[in-house]
């Protein structure tokens, strides 16, 4: 259900931008998604496919750029990408905290067509 609300919000933005540019059709929606948010591409595509029916974004391709969750070690200061569920620093084993990337969630761009 996580993705259903997201799909609704994405389409609201996409439809508004499409309308504002006088376009008729959206052929591609490109998102940037941080891995820490847990949004799955398959699931987003599934809900977008259903909810876009009858609107300008019907049939639009979905492209998702995932951003790795960046962690910083509290002990040695090392910065590294999170792999799986592990938080520990690969260098010293210290505790890693979220370091400013991985919670992105935005519509990066769309591709539109005019008739």
């Amino acid at each position: 259900m996580h993705e259903a609300s997201a799909a609704e919000a994405i389409l609201r933005i996409v439809d508004a931008e499409t309308g504002a540019r006088g376009a008729d059709r959206v052929t591609k929606i490109r998102l940037v998604v941080g891995e820490a948010t847990g949004y799955m591409e398959e699931s987003l595509a599934f809900f977008l496919g259903i909810m876009a029916k009858g609107g300008p974004a019907e049939g639009a391709a979905l492209e998702v750029e995932y951003v790795k969750t960046r962690l910083r070690c509290a002990s040695c200061g090392e910065e590294y990408d999170r792999v799986g569920w592990v938080l520990e620093c690969p260098r010293c084993g210290g505790p890693g905290s979220l370091a400013g990337s991985g919670d992105e969630f935005y519509v990066d761009s769309i591709e539109i067509e005019k008739e």
Partner: protein, 220 residues
């Protein structure tokens, strides 16, 4: 060939804007809102009940918004204790959002200067994504849920000012690895306070309220 248009708009921008408006409205009335997060059965309602008793006996006012996918069991339980409680049934949505809070605030009786506890849907994922006008998030984790939660759901812990660890009377029976939990919390949320609670006896609730009062003072 389509024309590429750069947008770069946050997907939850509308929710965020409406949450800011709610927050400003509450703040103007001296109401301090706490968004209570946690998995199903973690002890969110028990925590709110324990705090409500103490807040009322200290002469302060409070109101509670209960979010559930379905049923008003928690709201009725709180009302039986004489607590002003209101129900949001999301009918399937796995989190509360700002429009839901806007709608219920319009129907609520809540006095200026009150505490407002908003119990989110039992879920450690989606509720972390939506601001709903709160001053503060706290996350409730139960000993019976296991000691790995900060590792599996670091995002919700990172966004919370404090973690209430409930059912501490079950530590031994559950084989709860406290050191592992604390290390996970320290990593996921280095700023967050760890506040233990035994919801049955109320042990720990005084300390949690003290912490909340200090957080409220600091936000003024």
């Amino acid at each position: 060939m389509g024309i590429k248009v750069s947008i770069k708009r946050a997907i939850y921008e509308e929710n965020d804007a409406r949450a800011s408006a709610i927050h400003e409205g509450l703040r103007a009335r001296g109401i301090f809102a706490v968004n209570v997060l946690g998995g199903p059965g973690a002890g969110k309602t028990s925590l709110i009940s324990a705090l409500a008793k103490r807040i009322r006996s200290s002469g302060s006012k409070l109101a509670v918004i209960e979010g559930d996918i379905a049923s008003d069991i928690d709201t009725r339980a709180l009302r039986e204790l004489g607590i002003e409680a209101y129900q949001i049934e999301t009918g399937g949505d796995c989190h509360l959002n700002a429009p839901m809070i806007e709608a219920i605030l319009g129907k609520m009786r809540i006095e200026d200067g009150s505490w407002l506890f908003i119990e989110n849907i039992g879920n450690l994922v989606c509720p972390a994504e939506f601001v709903i006008g709160e001053d503060l998030k706290i996350v409730v984790a139960g000993v019976s849920e296991g000691s790995d939660k900060p590792y599996k759901y670091p995002f919700i812990f990172a966004k919370s000012g404090a973690c209430v660890l409930t059912k501490i009377d079950l530590k031994e029976a559950m084989g709860f690895d406290e050191t592992f939990f604390e290390a996970g919390l320290a990593a996921a949320a280095p700023h967050a306070a760890l506040l233990p609670l035994n919801g049955r006896t109320g042990e720990g609730a005084d300390r949690i309220l003290e912490w909340l009062v200090a957080a409220r003072e600091a936000s003024r």
